[in-house]
Symmetry: C2
Subunit: 308 residues, 2 copies
Protein backbone atom coordinates (compact mmCIF):
# COMPACT_ATOMS: atom_id res chain seq x y z
CA UNK A 1 0.00 0.00 0.00
CA UNK A 2 1.29 3.45 -0.92
CA UNK A 3 1.36 6.37 1.46
CA UNK A 4 -2.09 7.88 2.04
CA UNK A 5 -3.15 10.33 -0.67
CA UNK A 6 -4.08 13.15 1.71
CA UNK A 7 -0.77 12.82 3.53
CA UNK A 8 1.06 13.06 0.22
CA UNK A 9 -0.94 16.06 -0.92
CA UNK A 10 -0.69 17.84 2.44
CA UNK A 11 3.08 17.41 2.40
CA UNK A 12 3.38 18.58 -1.21
CA UNK A 13 1.34 21.69 -0.38
CA UNK A 14 3.63 22.38 2.57
CA UNK A 15 6.76 21.92 0.45
CA UNK A 16 5.58 24.26 -2.30
CA UNK A 17 4.10 26.64 0.24
CA UNK A 18 0.77 26.95 -1.57
CA UNK A 19 -2.44 24.95 -2.07
CA UNK A 20 -2.55 25.99 -5.73
CA UNK A 21 -3.35 23.44 -8.44
CA UNK A 22 -3.20 24.16 -12.16
CA UNK A 23 -5.90 22.67 -14.37
CA UNK A 24 -4.89 21.44 -17.82
CA UNK A 25 -7.83 22.10 -20.16
CA UNK A 26 -6.14 22.15 -23.57
CA UNK A 27 -8.27 23.64 -26.35
CA UNK A 28 -6.85 23.49 -29.87
CA UNK A 29 -8.19 26.90 -30.88
CA UNK A 30 -6.57 28.60 -27.88
CA UNK A 31 -3.03 27.23 -28.22
CA UNK A 32 -0.04 29.51 -28.78
CA UNK A 33 0.33 30.15 -32.53
CA UNK A 34 3.57 28.22 -32.81
CA UNK A 35 2.00 25.06 -31.44
CA UNK A 36 -1.09 24.91 -33.67
CA UNK A 37 -1.26 21.97 -36.06
CA UNK A 38 -0.63 22.49 -39.77
CA UNK A 39 -3.14 19.91 -41.07
CA UNK A 40 -6.51 18.40 -40.21
CA UNK A 41 -5.26 15.08 -38.87
CA UNK A 42 -6.30 14.10 -35.39
CA UNK A 43 -2.78 12.92 -34.55
CA UNK A 44 -1.43 16.40 -35.34
CA UNK A 45 -4.07 17.97 -33.13
CA UNK A 46 -3.22 15.63 -30.28
CA UNK A 47 0.51 16.24 -30.69
CA UNK A 48 -0.23 19.96 -30.40
CA UNK A 49 -2.27 19.78 -27.20
CA UNK A 50 0.22 17.34 -25.70
CA UNK A 51 3.16 19.66 -26.44
CA UNK A 52 1.20 22.51 -24.90
CA UNK A 53 0.47 20.51 -21.73
CA UNK A 54 4.12 19.53 -21.40
CA UNK A 55 5.14 23.15 -21.82
CA UNK A 56 2.70 24.24 -19.10
CA UNK A 57 3.88 21.45 -16.80
CA UNK A 58 7.52 22.45 -17.26
CA UNK A 59 6.68 25.95 -16.12
CA UNK A 60 4.32 25.22 -13.22
CA UNK A 61 6.07 22.16 -11.72
CA UNK A 62 8.40 24.19 -9.47
CA UNK A 63 5.54 26.44 -8.35
CA UNK A 64 2.60 24.22 -7.39
CA UNK A 65 2.10 20.81 -5.74
CA UNK A 66 -0.38 19.37 -8.22
CA UNK A 67 -2.05 19.57 -11.60
CA UNK A 68 -5.53 18.53 -12.65
CA UNK A 69 -5.81 16.95 -16.09
CA UNK A 70 -9.29 17.23 -17.58
CA UNK A 71 -10.12 14.08 -19.55
CA UNK A 72 -12.89 15.76 -21.53
CA UNK A 73 -10.43 18.01 -23.35
CA UNK A 74 -8.52 14.93 -24.50
CA UNK A 75 -11.59 12.85 -25.38
CA UNK A 76 -12.49 15.54 -27.89
CA UNK A 77 -9.79 13.72 -29.90
CA UNK A 78 -11.15 10.18 -29.42
CA UNK A 79 -8.94 7.25 -28.43
CA UNK A 80 -5.76 8.93 -29.58
CA UNK A 81 -6.67 11.89 -27.38
CA UNK A 82 -7.25 9.73 -24.32
CA UNK A 83 -3.88 8.05 -24.94
CA UNK A 84 -2.30 11.52 -24.71
CA UNK A 85 -4.15 12.15 -21.42
CA UNK A 86 -2.27 9.23 -19.88
CA UNK A 87 1.06 10.43 -21.29
CA UNK A 88 0.45 13.90 -19.84
CA UNK A 89 -0.29 12.34 -16.44
CA UNK A 90 2.98 10.38 -16.66
CA UNK A 91 4.93 13.47 -17.69
CA UNK A 92 3.56 15.49 -14.76
CA UNK A 93 4.67 12.67 -12.45
CA UNK A 94 8.21 12.83 -13.83
CA UNK A 95 8.23 16.53 -12.91
CA UNK A 96 7.33 15.72 -9.30
CA UNK A 97 3.69 16.77 -9.42
CA UNK A 98 0.69 15.04 -7.92
CA UNK A 99 -1.94 14.50 -10.58
CA UNK A 100 -5.72 14.63 -10.30
CA UNK A 101 -7.58 13.05 -13.23
CA UNK A 102 -10.67 15.17 -13.80
CA UNK A 103 -12.95 12.48 -15.22
CA UNK A 104 -16.32 13.06 -13.43
CA UNK A 105 -17.33 9.47 -14.14
CA UNK A 106 -20.43 8.11 -12.46
CA UNK A 107 -22.12 4.87 -13.47
CA UNK A 108 -23.80 1.88 -11.83
CA UNK A 109 -21.64 -0.53 -9.85
CA UNK A 110 -20.97 -3.10 -12.57
CA UNK A 111 -19.64 -0.36 -14.87
CA UNK A 112 -17.96 1.66 -12.12
CA UNK A 113 -15.62 -1.29 -11.50
CA UNK A 114 -14.33 -1.00 -15.05
CA UNK A 115 -13.94 2.77 -14.87
CA UNK A 116 -11.94 2.33 -11.67
CA UNK A 117 -9.65 -0.16 -13.41
CA UNK A 118 -8.81 2.21 -16.23
CA UNK A 119 -8.64 5.46 -14.29
CA UNK A 120 -7.27 4.79 -10.80
CA UNK A 121 -6.07 1.20 -10.27
CA UNK A 122 -2.61 -0.29 -10.91
CA UNK A 123 -2.41 -1.49 -14.50
CA UNK A 124 -2.88 -5.24 -14.95
CA UNK A 125 -0.72 -5.15 -18.09
CA UNK A 126 3.02 -5.38 -18.54
CA UNK A 127 3.12 -2.60 -21.10
CA UNK A 128 1.17 0.08 -19.21
CA UNK A 129 3.22 2.54 -17.15
CA UNK A 130 1.81 2.79 -13.59
CA UNK A 131 2.99 6.43 -13.59
CA UNK A 132 0.43 7.18 -16.32
CA UNK A 133 -2.42 6.65 -13.84
CA UNK A 134 -3.44 9.67 -11.71
CA UNK A 135 -3.11 9.88 -7.93
CA UNK A 136 -6.78 10.79 -7.60
CA UNK A 137 -9.83 11.35 -9.78
CA UNK A 138 -13.01 13.41 -9.68
CA UNK A 139 -16.26 11.46 -9.66
CA UNK A 140 -20.02 11.94 -9.79
CA UNK A 141 -21.76 10.19 -6.90
CA UNK A 142 -25.30 10.66 -8.19
CA UNK A 143 -25.82 6.95 -8.79
CA UNK A 144 -25.12 6.21 -5.15
CA UNK A 145 -22.48 4.36 -3.19
CA UNK A 146 -22.00 1.52 -5.72
CA UNK A 147 -20.84 4.08 -8.28
CA UNK A 148 -17.92 5.19 -6.10
CA UNK A 149 -17.19 2.06 -4.05
CA UNK A 150 -14.70 0.51 -6.54
CA UNK A 151 -12.75 3.78 -6.50
CA UNK A 152 -12.75 3.91 -2.69
CA UNK A 153 -11.46 0.33 -2.50
CA UNK A 154 -8.70 1.16 -4.98
CA UNK A 155 -7.82 4.36 -3.12
CA UNK A 156 -7.52 2.49 0.18
CA UNK A 157 -5.38 -0.22 -1.38
CA UNK A 158 -2.99 2.01 -3.30
CA UNK A 159 -2.85 5.25 -1.33
CA UNK A 160 -4.87 7.12 -3.92
CA UNK A 161 -7.81 9.48 -3.67
CA UNK A 162 -11.12 10.60 -5.13
CA UNK A 163 -13.14 13.80 -5.11
CA UNK A 164 -16.91 13.48 -5.40
CA UNK A 165 -18.94 16.36 -6.85
CA UNK A 166 -20.80 18.18 -4.09
CA UNK A 167 -21.07 21.74 -5.36
CA UNK A 168 -20.00 22.32 -8.96
CA UNK A 169 -18.61 25.66 -10.10
CA UNK A 170 -21.10 26.14 -12.95
CA UNK A 171 -23.98 28.35 -11.69
CA UNK A 172 -26.19 26.38 -14.10
CA UNK A 173 -25.84 23.40 -11.78
CA UNK A 174 -27.79 25.22 -9.06
CA UNK A 175 -31.14 24.28 -10.58
CA UNK A 176 -30.28 20.68 -9.66
CA UNK A 177 -28.23 21.15 -6.51
CA UNK A 178 -30.50 23.62 -4.73
CA UNK A 179 -33.45 21.23 -5.08
CA UNK A 180 -35.28 20.56 -1.84
CA UNK A 181 -36.93 22.58 0.89
CA UNK A 182 -35.48 22.43 4.39
CA UNK A 183 -32.65 20.27 3.19
CA UNK A 184 -31.05 20.83 -0.19
CA UNK A 185 -29.87 18.17 -2.61
CA UNK A 186 -26.23 19.22 -2.29
CA UNK A 187 -26.51 18.80 1.47
CA UNK A 188 -27.89 15.31 0.89
CA UNK A 189 -24.84 14.52 -1.27
CA UNK A 190 -22.61 16.07 1.40
CA UNK A 191 -23.85 13.58 3.94
CA UNK A 192 -23.02 10.66 1.61
CA UNK A 193 -19.54 11.93 0.88
CA UNK A 194 -18.81 12.41 4.57
CA UNK A 195 -20.03 8.90 5.34
CA UNK A 196 -18.23 7.25 2.40
CA UNK A 197 -14.96 8.77 3.63
CA UNK A 198 -15.14 7.44 7.17
CA UNK A 199 -13.39 4.38 8.55
CA UNK A 200 -9.93 3.93 10.04
CA UNK A 201 -8.40 2.67 6.79
CA UNK A 202 -9.53 5.72 4.90
CA UNK A 203 -8.19 8.52 7.12
CA UNK A 204 -4.56 9.57 6.77
CA UNK A 205 -2.15 10.68 9.48
CA UNK A 206 -3.06 14.27 8.63
CA UNK A 207 -6.62 13.55 9.70
CA UNK A 208 -8.08 13.79 6.22
CA UNK A 209 -9.83 11.02 4.28
CA UNK A 210 -8.92 9.78 0.82
CA UNK A 211 -12.55 10.49 -0.15
CA UNK A 212 -12.79 14.16 -0.98
CA UNK A 213 -15.38 16.57 -2.31
CA UNK A 214 -15.49 19.04 -5.18
CA UNK A 215 -16.78 22.21 -3.52
CA UNK A 216 -16.99 25.47 -5.44
CA UNK A 217 -17.01 28.48 -3.12
CA UNK A 218 -20.25 30.45 -3.04
CA UNK A 219 -21.26 32.65 -0.09
CA UNK A 220 -18.95 32.27 2.92
CA UNK A 221 -21.66 30.99 5.26
CA UNK A 222 -22.77 28.06 3.12
CA UNK A 223 -19.17 27.12 2.31
CA UNK A 224 -18.27 27.17 6.00
CA UNK A 225 -21.31 24.99 6.67
CA UNK A 226 -20.06 22.41 4.15
CA UNK A 227 -16.61 22.48 5.78
CA UNK A 228 -18.23 21.84 9.17
CA UNK A 229 -20.41 19.03 7.82
CA UNK A 230 -17.37 17.25 6.31
CA UNK A 231 -14.57 17.89 8.82
CA UNK A 232 -12.26 15.13 7.52
CA UNK A 233 -13.04 15.52 3.83
CA UNK A 234 -10.38 17.09 1.58
CA UNK A 235 -11.85 19.69 -0.77
CA UNK A 236 -10.97 20.27 -4.40
CA UNK A 237 -12.00 23.87 -4.96
CA UNK A 238 -12.78 24.85 -8.56
CA UNK A 239 -13.79 28.22 -9.89
CA UNK A 240 -10.78 30.42 -9.12
CA UNK A 241 -9.84 33.00 -11.74
CA UNK A 242 -11.77 32.79 -14.99
CA UNK A 243 -14.82 31.49 -13.13
CA UNK A 244 -14.78 34.31 -10.59
CA UNK A 245 -13.75 32.84 -7.23
CA UNK A 246 -11.11 34.73 -5.22
CA UNK A 247 -8.65 33.54 -2.58
CA UNK A 248 -10.88 35.14 0.04
CA UNK A 249 -13.96 33.23 -1.15
CA UNK A 250 -11.95 29.97 -0.98
CA UNK A 251 -10.90 30.54 2.65
CA UNK A 252 -13.90 28.77 4.27
CA UNK A 253 -12.97 25.61 2.35
CA UNK A 254 -9.88 25.22 4.54
CA UNK A 255 -9.78 23.77 8.03
CA UNK A 256 -8.74 25.92 10.97
CA UNK A 257 -5.16 24.57 10.74
CA UNK A 258 -4.86 25.60 7.09
CA UNK A 259 -5.09 22.10 5.66
CA UNK A 260 -7.90 20.33 3.85
CA UNK A 261 -8.20 22.02 0.47
CA UNK A 262 -6.51 22.56 -2.84
CA UNK A 263 -7.58 25.41 -5.11
CA UNK A 264 -7.66 24.92 -8.88
CA UNK A 265 -7.17 27.52 -11.59
CA UNK A 266 -7.25 26.49 -15.23
CA UNK A 267 -7.89 29.08 -17.93
CA UNK A 268 -6.57 32.10 -16.03
CA UNK A 269 -3.16 30.42 -15.80
CA UNK A 270 -2.72 28.23 -18.87
CA UNK A 271 -4.05 30.82 -21.34
CA UNK A 272 -2.31 33.78 -19.73
CA UNK A 273 -0.56 34.42 -23.07
CA UNK A 274 -3.91 35.45 -24.57
CA UNK A 275 -4.07 38.34 -22.10
CA UNK A 276 -2.88 41.57 -23.70
CA UNK A 277 -1.48 42.89 -20.42
CA UNK A 278 0.75 39.86 -20.00
CA UNK A 279 1.95 39.98 -23.57
CA UNK A 280 2.97 43.61 -23.05
CA UNK A 281 5.13 42.41 -20.16
CA UNK A 282 6.54 39.17 -21.55
CA UNK A 283 6.28 39.51 -25.31
CA UNK A 284 5.75 36.44 -27.40
CA UNK A 285 7.15 34.03 -24.78
CA UNK A 286 3.95 32.15 -23.92
CA UNK A 287 5.60 30.11 -21.19
CA UNK A 288 6.80 33.26 -19.45
CA UNK A 289 3.20 34.49 -19.44
CA UNK A 290 1.98 31.20 -17.94
CA UNK A 291 4.77 31.26 -15.34
CA UNK A 292 3.88 34.79 -14.29
CA UNK A 293 0.18 33.98 -14.01
CA UNK A 294 0.95 30.80 -12.08
CA UNK A 295 3.26 32.65 -9.69
CA UNK A 296 0.57 35.25 -9.02
CA UNK A 297 -2.07 32.57 -8.47
CA UNK A 298 0.19 30.49 -6.21
CA UNK A 299 1.09 33.57 -4.18
CA UNK A 300 -2.50 34.74 -3.95
CA UNK A 301 -3.74 31.50 -2.37
CA UNK A 302 -0.56 30.76 -0.34
CA UNK A 303 -1.94 32.58 2.68
CA UNK A 304 -4.84 30.15 2.93
CA UNK A 305 -2.55 27.48 4.35
CA UNK A 306 -1.29 28.51 7.73
CA UNK A 307 0.68 25.36 8.40
CA UNK A 308 2.99 24.87 11.32
Amino acid sequence: MGEHFSDRLTRAIRERGTPAMVGLDPVLESLPGGLRPRDRHVSSAVAAIEAFCRGVIDVVAPLVPAVKVNAGFFEAFYGVGLAAYYRVVAYAHTRGLLVIGDIKRGDIGSTAKLYARGHLDSPAFDDVDPASIPDAVTLAGYLGENAVRPFIDTARRLGKGLYVLVRPSDPGADEVHEFGAERRFYQHMTEFVRRWGEGPDLIGECGLSCVGAVVAPKDAASTAALRAMMPRTPFLVPGYGAQGATAESCRPCFRADGTGAVVNASRSVIYAFNDAQRVKQHGEDWQACVAAACREFAGDVAGLTRLA
Copy 2:
Protein backbone atom coordinates in the same frame (compact mmCIF):
# COMPACT_ATOMS: atom_id res chain seq x y z
CA MET B 1 -29.10 17.76 -41.22
CA GLY B 2 -29.64 14.03 -40.92
CA GLU B 3 -33.03 12.44 -40.36
CA HIS B 4 -34.30 12.82 -36.80
CA PHE B 5 -32.87 10.24 -34.40
CA SER B 6 -36.23 9.14 -32.99
CA ASP B 7 -37.65 8.69 -36.49
CA ARG B 8 -34.67 6.53 -37.42
CA LEU B 9 -34.94 4.45 -34.25
CA THR B 10 -38.72 4.08 -34.52
CA ARG B 11 -38.37 2.86 -38.09
CA ALA B 12 -35.58 0.43 -37.22
CA ILE B 13 -37.70 -1.00 -34.39
CA ARG B 14 -40.58 -1.45 -36.81
CA GLU B 15 -38.35 -3.13 -39.39
CA ARG B 16 -36.86 -5.59 -36.90
CA GLY B 17 -40.21 -6.05 -35.20
CA THR B 18 -38.80 -5.57 -31.71
CA PRO B 19 -37.64 -2.75 -29.43
CA ALA B 20 -34.74 -4.92 -28.19
CA MET B 21 -31.25 -3.44 -27.88
CA VAL B 22 -28.16 -5.46 -27.00
CA GLY B 23 -25.61 -3.91 -24.65
CA LEU B 24 -21.93 -4.55 -25.32
CA ASP B 25 -20.17 -4.74 -21.94
CA PRO B 26 -17.03 -6.72 -22.78
CA VAL B 27 -15.19 -8.10 -19.75
CA LEU B 28 -11.87 -9.83 -20.38
CA GLU B 29 -12.40 -12.50 -17.73
CA SER B 30 -15.78 -13.49 -19.18
CA LEU B 31 -14.80 -13.94 -22.82
CA PRO B 32 -15.13 -17.30 -24.60
CA GLY B 33 -11.99 -19.37 -23.96
CA GLY B 34 -10.84 -19.20 -27.56
CA LEU B 35 -10.80 -15.41 -27.56
CA ARG B 36 -8.82 -14.82 -24.36
CA PRO B 37 -5.43 -13.16 -24.80
CA ARG B 38 -2.25 -15.21 -24.42
CA ASP B 39 -0.09 -12.51 -22.85
CA ARG B 40 -0.35 -9.52 -20.50
CA HIS B 41 -0.16 -6.79 -23.13
CA VAL B 42 -2.95 -4.26 -23.23
CA SER B 43 -3.10 -4.44 -27.03
CA SER B 44 -3.79 -8.19 -26.83
CA ALA B 45 -6.53 -7.59 -24.31
CA VAL B 46 -8.13 -4.95 -26.49
CA ALA B 47 -7.88 -7.16 -29.58
CA ALA B 48 -9.71 -9.85 -27.61
CA ILE B 49 -12.62 -7.68 -26.45
CA GLU B 50 -12.89 -6.14 -29.90
CA ALA B 51 -13.08 -9.56 -31.59
CA PHE B 52 -15.72 -10.56 -29.05
CA CYS B 53 -17.80 -7.44 -29.76
CA ARG B 54 -17.57 -8.00 -33.52
CA GLY B 55 -18.68 -11.59 -33.03
CA VAL B 56 -21.67 -10.50 -30.96
CA ILE B 57 -22.57 -7.81 -33.49
CA ASP B 58 -22.45 -10.33 -36.35
CA VAL B 59 -24.97 -12.49 -34.53
CA VAL B 60 -27.39 -9.85 -33.23
CA ALA B 61 -27.42 -7.49 -36.24
CA PRO B 62 -30.23 -9.32 -38.06
CA LEU B 63 -32.29 -9.59 -34.86
CA VAL B 64 -32.32 -6.17 -33.20
CA PRO B 65 -32.42 -2.53 -34.33
CA ALA B 66 -29.65 -1.19 -32.10
CA VAL B 67 -26.71 -1.91 -29.84
CA LYS B 68 -25.45 0.02 -26.84
CA VAL B 69 -21.68 0.19 -26.49
CA ASN B 70 -20.55 0.87 -22.91
CA ALA B 71 -17.48 3.11 -22.92
CA GLY B 72 -16.46 2.13 -19.38
CA PHE B 73 -15.67 -1.41 -20.45
CA PHE B 74 -13.28 -0.06 -23.08
CA GLU B 75 -11.72 2.62 -20.88
CA ALA B 76 -10.57 -0.16 -18.57
CA PHE B 77 -7.91 -0.49 -21.29
CA TYR B 78 -6.92 3.19 -21.43
CA GLY B 79 -6.54 5.10 -24.71
CA VAL B 80 -6.08 1.94 -26.76
CA GLY B 81 -9.34 0.65 -25.30
CA LEU B 82 -11.25 3.81 -26.17
CA ALA B 83 -9.88 3.60 -29.71
CA ALA B 84 -11.47 0.13 -29.94
CA TYR B 85 -14.78 1.58 -28.68
CA TYR B 86 -14.92 3.80 -31.76
CA ARG B 87 -14.00 0.90 -34.07
CA VAL B 88 -16.78 -1.21 -32.54
CA VAL B 89 -19.26 1.63 -33.12
CA ALA B 90 -18.13 1.83 -36.75
CA TYR B 91 -18.42 -1.93 -37.19
CA ALA B 92 -21.97 -1.97 -35.80
CA HIS B 93 -22.86 0.75 -38.29
CA THR B 94 -21.57 -1.36 -41.18
CA ARG B 95 -23.93 -4.10 -40.02
CA GLY B 96 -26.91 -1.74 -40.23
CA LEU B 97 -27.36 -1.17 -36.50
CA LEU B 98 -28.11 2.07 -34.72
CA VAL B 99 -25.54 2.65 -32.00
CA ILE B 100 -25.97 4.21 -28.58
CA GLY B 101 -22.73 5.22 -26.87
CA ASP B 102 -23.19 4.55 -23.17
CA ILE B 103 -20.86 7.22 -21.80
CA LYS B 104 -22.84 8.78 -18.90
CA ARG B 105 -20.73 11.92 -19.14
CA GLY B 106 -21.79 14.95 -17.13
CA ASP B 107 -19.60 17.98 -16.58
CA ILE B 108 -19.90 21.76 -16.46
CA GLY B 109 -20.62 23.60 -19.69
CA SER B 110 -17.06 24.48 -20.69
CA THR B 111 -16.06 20.82 -20.46
CA ALA B 112 -19.34 19.44 -21.81
CA LYS B 113 -18.60 21.16 -25.13
CA LEU B 114 -15.46 19.07 -25.49
CA TYR B 115 -17.18 15.83 -24.50
CA ALA B 116 -19.84 16.54 -27.13
CA ARG B 117 -17.14 17.04 -29.76
CA GLY B 118 -15.54 13.68 -29.10
CA HIS B 119 -18.65 11.62 -28.45
CA LEU B 120 -21.50 12.88 -30.65
CA ASP B 121 -20.45 15.56 -33.14
CA SER B 122 -19.12 15.13 -36.70
CA PRO B 123 -15.36 14.74 -36.60
CA ALA B 124 -13.42 17.90 -37.46
CA PHE B 125 -10.53 15.79 -38.76
CA ASP B 126 -9.88 14.26 -42.17
CA ASP B 127 -8.71 10.96 -40.71
CA VAL B 128 -11.60 10.23 -38.35
CA ASP B 129 -14.44 8.09 -39.73
CA PRO B 130 -17.82 9.76 -39.08
CA ALA B 131 -19.30 6.24 -38.81
CA SER B 132 -17.21 5.69 -35.68
CA ILE B 133 -19.35 8.20 -33.77
CA PRO B 134 -22.56 6.89 -32.16
CA ASP B 135 -26.07 7.96 -33.14
CA ALA B 136 -26.89 8.84 -29.55
CA VAL B 137 -25.24 8.85 -26.13
CA THR B 138 -26.28 8.48 -22.52
CA LEU B 139 -25.59 11.47 -20.26
CA ALA B 140 -25.80 12.57 -16.66
CA GLY B 141 -27.77 15.80 -16.28
CA TYR B 142 -26.91 16.42 -12.65
CA LEU B 143 -24.84 19.49 -13.41
CA GLY B 144 -27.83 21.14 -15.04
CA GLU B 145 -28.72 22.31 -18.51
CA ASN B 146 -25.25 23.55 -19.47
CA ALA B 147 -23.95 20.00 -19.08
CA VAL B 148 -26.29 18.68 -21.77
CA ARG B 149 -26.83 21.75 -23.99
CA PRO B 150 -23.84 21.08 -26.31
CA PHE B 151 -25.17 17.56 -26.90
CA ILE B 152 -28.70 18.84 -27.61
CA ASP B 153 -27.33 21.36 -30.13
CA THR B 154 -25.34 18.62 -31.84
CA ALA B 155 -28.33 16.26 -31.84
CA ARG B 156 -30.54 18.91 -33.46
CA ARG B 157 -27.93 19.72 -36.09
CA LEU B 158 -27.03 16.15 -37.05
CA GLY B 159 -30.16 14.11 -36.39
CA LYS B 160 -28.63 12.45 -33.35
CA GLY B 161 -29.95 11.78 -29.86
CA LEU B 162 -29.18 11.70 -26.15
CA TYR B 163 -30.61 9.89 -23.16
CA VAL B 164 -30.33 11.62 -19.80
CA LEU B 165 -30.27 9.53 -16.61
CA VAL B 166 -33.58 9.80 -14.80
CA ARG B 167 -33.93 6.47 -13.00
CA PRO B 168 -30.86 4.21 -13.05
CA SER B 169 -31.16 0.45 -12.85
CA ASP B 170 -28.85 0.03 -9.84
CA PRO B 171 -31.01 -0.14 -6.67
CA GLY B 172 -28.07 1.51 -4.91
CA ALA B 173 -28.94 4.70 -6.78
CA ASP B 174 -32.22 5.00 -4.89
CA GLU B 175 -30.57 6.62 -1.88
CA VAL B 176 -29.89 9.58 -4.15
CA HIS B 177 -32.88 9.49 -6.48
CA GLU B 178 -35.58 9.04 -3.86
CA PHE B 179 -34.38 12.13 -2.00
CA GLY B 180 -37.12 14.63 -1.22
CA ALA B 181 -40.47 14.66 0.48
CA GLU B 182 -43.57 15.46 -1.59
CA ARG B 183 -41.47 15.63 -4.73
CA ARG B 184 -38.58 13.26 -5.28
CA PHE B 185 -35.24 14.09 -6.84
CA TYR B 186 -35.86 11.83 -9.84
CA GLN B 187 -39.11 13.67 -10.48
CA HIS B 188 -37.18 16.93 -10.38
CA MET B 189 -34.78 15.55 -13.02
CA THR B 190 -37.78 14.29 -15.02
CA GLU B 191 -39.09 17.81 -15.31
CA PHE B 192 -35.73 19.04 -16.65
CA VAL B 193 -35.48 16.29 -19.21
CA ARG B 194 -39.01 16.92 -20.44
CA ARG B 195 -38.29 20.64 -20.76
CA TRP B 196 -34.89 20.18 -22.45
CA GLY B 197 -36.53 18.01 -25.10
CA GLU B 198 -39.22 20.50 -26.11
CA GLY B 199 -39.16 22.82 -29.10
CA PRO B 200 -40.18 22.31 -32.72
CA ASP B 201 -36.66 21.53 -33.93
CA LEU B 202 -36.25 18.75 -31.39
CA ILE B 203 -39.39 16.69 -32.04
CA GLY B 204 -39.36 14.15 -34.87
CA GLU B 205 -42.21 13.22 -37.19
CA CYS B 206 -42.97 10.29 -34.89
CA GLY B 207 -43.76 12.78 -32.13
CA LEU B 208 -40.74 11.92 -30.03
CA SER B 209 -37.90 14.24 -29.06
CA CYS B 210 -34.21 13.64 -29.65
CA VAL B 211 -33.74 14.22 -25.90
CA GLY B 212 -34.49 10.94 -24.18
CA ALA B 213 -34.37 9.53 -20.67
CA VAL B 214 -32.80 6.46 -19.10
CA VAL B 215 -35.66 4.96 -17.09
CA ALA B 216 -35.27 1.63 -15.33
CA PRO B 217 -38.63 -0.01 -14.67
CA LYS B 218 -39.62 -0.28 -11.02
CA ASP B 219 -43.25 -0.62 -9.89
CA ALA B 220 -45.75 -0.16 -12.72
CA ALA B 221 -47.44 2.88 -11.20
CA SER B 222 -44.32 4.99 -10.83
CA THR B 223 -43.06 3.99 -14.29
CA ALA B 224 -46.41 4.92 -15.83
CA ALA B 225 -46.23 8.24 -14.00
CA LEU B 226 -42.82 8.94 -15.57
CA ARG B 227 -44.21 8.05 -19.00
CA ALA B 228 -47.08 10.49 -18.44
CA MET B 229 -44.77 13.25 -17.22
CA MET B 230 -42.55 12.93 -20.32
CA PRO B 231 -45.02 12.15 -23.14
CA ARG B 232 -42.62 13.02 -25.99
CA THR B 233 -39.43 11.66 -24.41
CA PRO B 234 -37.95 8.44 -25.80
CA PHE B 235 -36.94 6.03 -23.05
CA LEU B 236 -33.85 3.85 -22.91
CA VAL B 237 -34.87 1.06 -20.54
CA PRO B 238 -32.03 -0.74 -18.76
CA GLY B 239 -32.25 -3.63 -16.34
CA TYR B 240 -33.77 -6.43 -18.43
CA GLY B 241 -32.41 -9.92 -17.81
CA ALA B 242 -29.42 -10.16 -15.49
CA GLN B 243 -30.68 -7.13 -13.57
CA GLY B 244 -34.16 -8.56 -13.06
CA ALA B 245 -36.56 -6.53 -15.21
CA THR B 246 -39.09 -8.44 -17.33
CA ALA B 247 -40.94 -7.52 -20.52
CA GLU B 248 -44.04 -6.95 -18.45
CA SER B 249 -42.28 -4.54 -16.10
CA CYS B 250 -41.02 -2.61 -19.15
CA ARG B 251 -44.52 -2.19 -20.61
CA PRO B 252 -45.37 1.13 -18.88
CA CYS B 253 -42.25 2.68 -20.48
CA PHE B 254 -43.99 2.53 -23.87
CA ARG B 255 -46.56 4.96 -25.19
CA ALA B 256 -50.09 3.82 -25.94
CA ASP B 257 -49.19 3.37 -29.62
CA GLY B 258 -46.31 1.03 -28.79
CA THR B 259 -43.58 3.54 -29.59
CA GLY B 260 -41.29 5.52 -27.32
CA ALA B 261 -38.93 3.01 -25.76
CA VAL B 262 -36.07 0.66 -26.44
CA VAL B 263 -35.23 -2.12 -23.95
CA ASN B 264 -31.60 -3.04 -23.31
CA ALA B 265 -30.18 -6.41 -22.27
CA SER B 266 -26.45 -6.84 -21.85
CA ARG B 267 -25.08 -9.71 -19.77
CA SER B 268 -28.03 -12.09 -20.25
CA VAL B 269 -27.41 -12.01 -24.01
CA ILE B 270 -23.70 -11.49 -24.61
CA TYR B 271 -22.57 -13.99 -21.95
CA ALA B 272 -25.22 -16.60 -22.77
CA PHE B 273 -22.38 -19.09 -23.48
CA ASN B 274 -21.55 -19.09 -19.76
CA ASP B 275 -25.01 -20.53 -19.04
CA ALA B 276 -24.85 -24.31 -18.63
CA GLN B 277 -28.35 -24.79 -20.09
CA ARG B 278 -27.39 -23.04 -23.30
CA VAL B 279 -24.14 -24.95 -23.63
CA LYS B 280 -26.08 -28.19 -23.33
CA GLN B 281 -28.16 -27.03 -26.31
CA HIS B 282 -25.50 -25.43 -28.51
CA GLY B 283 -22.23 -27.01 -27.41
CA GLU B 284 -19.07 -24.96 -27.63
CA ASP B 285 -20.41 -22.58 -30.28
CA TRP B 286 -20.51 -19.39 -28.23
CA GLN B 287 -22.11 -17.35 -31.01
CA ALA B 288 -24.96 -19.85 -31.31
CA CYS B 289 -25.60 -19.38 -27.57
CA VAL B 290 -25.63 -15.59 -27.99
CA ALA B 291 -27.93 -15.84 -31.02
CA ALA B 292 -30.39 -18.05 -29.12
CA ALA B 293 -30.42 -15.73 -26.11
CA CYS B 294 -30.84 -12.69 -28.36
CA ARG B 295 -33.71 -14.32 -30.25
CA GLU B 296 -35.49 -15.12 -26.98
CA PHE B 297 -34.96 -11.60 -25.68
CA ALA B 298 -36.08 -9.97 -28.94
CA GLY B 299 -39.17 -12.17 -29.04
CA ASP B 300 -39.97 -11.58 -25.40
CA VAL B 301 -40.12 -7.79 -25.78
CA ALA B 302 -41.54 -7.75 -29.34
CA GLY B 303 -45.09 -7.61 -28.02
CA LEU B 304 -44.41 -4.28 -26.33
CA THR B 305 -44.53 -2.48 -29.69
CA ARG B 306 -47.99 -2.62 -31.16
CA LEU B 307 -47.23 -0.50 -34.20
CA ALA B 308 -49.70 0.12 -36.96
